[in-house]
């Protein structure tokens, strides 16, 4: 088990907000699925944080643990995206991975910070890459922080924990 950074005691949000958040998440995932990185960057707050970790294997009575895979602040995330979206700057993502983000078990809670929402999402990210069509499906849990703005929601933080101890995919050059 990994401790969620989100309090689970807060009340669920209204139905309208729940549906709006889901719509946001679906649209946002679709942008990544389509490699529409410029539009995706428009959905991030200026102080966004993007982190990805994976698991270690511990005994049932010893504390669970993870290892860090990515830990980007806003600027680093934009640089990362700049790399994988520019055909001159990447080979890992040129030709691009064919990805599909399947979202599940979406739970939304008001955050302590007013105007912010804590969102927990289970993700299956299907990735096909390379000329032999190698396929890989990542299972993960995401903890997102969304911020309500005049332009709609923005993503303020994303914390991904892969449900894997050994990553079988050579690299994780795709975003969750």
């Amino acid at each position: 088990m990994t401790a969620s950074p989100h309090p689970t005691t807060a009340a669920p949000v209204t139905d309208a907000e729940y549906r709006a958040v889901c719509e946001f998440l679906y649209d946002e995932a679709a942008l990544l699925d389509q490699d529409a990185y410029a539009a995706w960057l428009g959905l991030l707050t200026a102080d966004v944080r993007y982190r990805l970790r994976a698991r270690t294997l511990r005994a049932l009575d010893q504390a669970a643990s993870t290892y860090r895979v990515v830990d980007n602040n806003a600027e680093e995330l934009r640089i990362r995206v700049g790399q994988i979206s520019d055909p001159r700057l990447t080979f890992a993502e040129n030709p691009p991975s064919i990805t599909r983000r399947h979202l599940h078990n979406i739970r939304v809670r008001a955050a302590a910070e007013p105007g912010e929402l804590h969102v927990t999402v289970n993700v299956l990210l299907h990735r096909s890459r390379g000329v032999e069509g190698e396929e890989h499906c990542y299972s993960a849990q995401r903890h997102d922080v969304l911020r309500r703005t005049d332009d709609g929601y923005l993503l303020a933080a994303r914390e991904v924990v892969l449900d894997s101890t050994v990553i079988k995919s050579m690299n994780v050059s795709v975003l969750f």
């Binding site: 005994a59 640089i79 994988i84 890992a92 050994v166 990553i167």
Partner: protein
């Protein structure tokens, strides 16, 4: 599956010293893989773990040694025990986690219990054994040779292997520069990443030891976008002056220096510790060090990458070690650890870890590119159409016997930085081990 040992090897010569070429066939080949296991991995010293991973008595990590699962344990007596991770009774895996803390190994199958010194403590049915059974003969199967160098734990299945000091030899001078430059030495920053790459271990090893040409093509992305501590002109000048160093035993390191403020991108509070710990010739290097990248033969590599500006005026470097564990022909599992000085502040260690993983490892913007390319080679190295068209390391030739004189460290240092000298020397050493009959 087993028994790959009967697969034939591709035709020799595998290395041509004259033309600086290397057979395409030695990458991703079943016969070569089996012979490498016999001639190199079962005979050599291999890295296992860092002492900081098993700091307290009872601490254990599980690793592979030449493919065999082993337990690396901090014994109650403070020593290090390394054992085949297999019950002496009937083979069941004893320690079934990545890491943990346990003073005894209790087998889940029939309850045989072993101390962390490997001794059999109980079979639960000692009375059922034939009279005179010598239970001291029924302890865990030990790795016969275990030794450490300043925190780095190595093991070997080969009882006849020479001392670890001889294996590392002059290269210890360079290891000190990265992993023992303060009194406390280095410490791991958490458990290692583990990921699988369809690449030959040698491809990875010579990339770090050291492929200096690929940097500006493969890594054009981060070079263009990242906020490195130096401008492009500084970097280009530094690469011109940089050296690649080879020491006996196939080890190598590349060192890029940029003269300026001493230890410019290392934490202020550590500067006096460096001065106190290193000797002057080492300090000369470290004061100006921009990039260090290395492979310790056969399959351990490390890199201290160029500093990046993570906040205005704040620079951080990541120091990473990685092991290319061969798991099959053309397939490796990579273990990747971040390190920092034990004396570094918690904040700096956190920053160094962040820096490390963002650049290297399975999510690093540098390494994500390398593995994509490495993994494309195997499929292409097997075609008979490639016969007569070996891989080209010809840029190694002009200066292969022409080391430079102005390098303060041991071994032989070479320029130009972009020539393929240490890579070729690695493969020559590999070839020697693979082709000379064992004594």
């Amino acid at each position: 599956m087993t028994q790959s040992s009967h697969a034939p090897c591709p035709p020799q010569p595998w290395i041509d010293d004259k033309t600086g070429t290397v057979s395409r066939r030695i990458f991703d080949d079943e016969g070569i893989f089996a012979l490498e296991k016999a001639r190199i991995f079962r005979r050599s010293w291999l890295y296992l773990a860092h002492e900081s991973e098993i700091a307290a008595p009872g601490d254990v990590v599980t690793r592979r040694l030449a493919g065999d699962p082993v337990i690396v344990a901090r014994r109650d007596d403070g020593g290090i025990g390394v054992y085949l991770n297999s019950c002496r009774h009937r083979g069941v895996r004893l320690c079934r986690v990545d890491s943990g803390s346990m003073r005894r190994f209790v087998c889940p199958y029939h309850g045989w219990t072993f101390g962390n010194d490997g001794a059999l403590l109980s079979t639960t049915v000692d009375n059922l054994f034939p009279e005179g059974t010598d239970f001291t003969k029924l302890g865990l199967i030990p790795v016969p040779r275990v030794a450490t160098y300043k925190g780095l734990i190595f093991g070997s299945w080969n009882t006849e292997v020479g001392p670890l000091e001889d294996h590392l030899g002059d290269f210890r001078w360079y290891l000190d520069l990265f992993f023992a430059r303060t009194p406390g030495g280095a410490t791991v920053l958490g458990p290692p990443q583990r990921f699988v790459v369809n690449a030959d271990w040698k491809t990875a090893a010579i990339n770090f030891g050291t492929d200096n040409t690929h940097i500006i093509t493969t890594h054009i992305g981060p070079l263009t976008l990242s906020k490195t501590a130096f401008d492009r002109k500084q970097i280009m000048g530094a690469l011109r002056d940089a050296v690649q160093v080879s020491t006996p035993g196939g080890h190598s390191v590349s060192l890029v220096t940029v003269p300026g403020r001493p230890y410019a991108h290392y934490p202020e509070e550590l500067h006096p510790l460096y001065e106190r710990t290193l000797d002057e010739s080492q300090r000369v290097i470290l004061r100006d060090l921009a990039i260090g990248v290395s492979t310790v033969f056969p399959n351990l590599s490390f890199i201290e990458n160029i500093a990046q500006e993570v906040a205005p005026g704040v620079h951080v470097k990541g120091l990473l070690m990685r092991q290319w564990q061969p798991v099959g022909p053309g397939k490796i599992e990579v273990l990747s650890w971040c390190f920092a000085e034990r004396e570094a502040s918690a904040e700096y260690r956190e920053a160094a870890l962040v820096r490390g993983v963002n650049d290297f490892g399975v999510g690093g913007v540098f390494e994500q590119e390398d593995v994509e390319l490495w993994s494309s080679i195997g499929d292409l190295s097997r075609s008979p159409a490639g016969d007569g068209h070996p891989f080209v390391f010809a840029t190694a030739l002009p200066h292969l016997d022409d080391p430079v004189a102005d390098h303060p460290g041991p071994g032989r240092a070479y320029r130009p930085f972009a020539s393929e000298i240490t890579q070729f020397k690695f493969l020559q050493h590999w070839n020697q081990l693979m082709t000379e009959e064992p004594a």
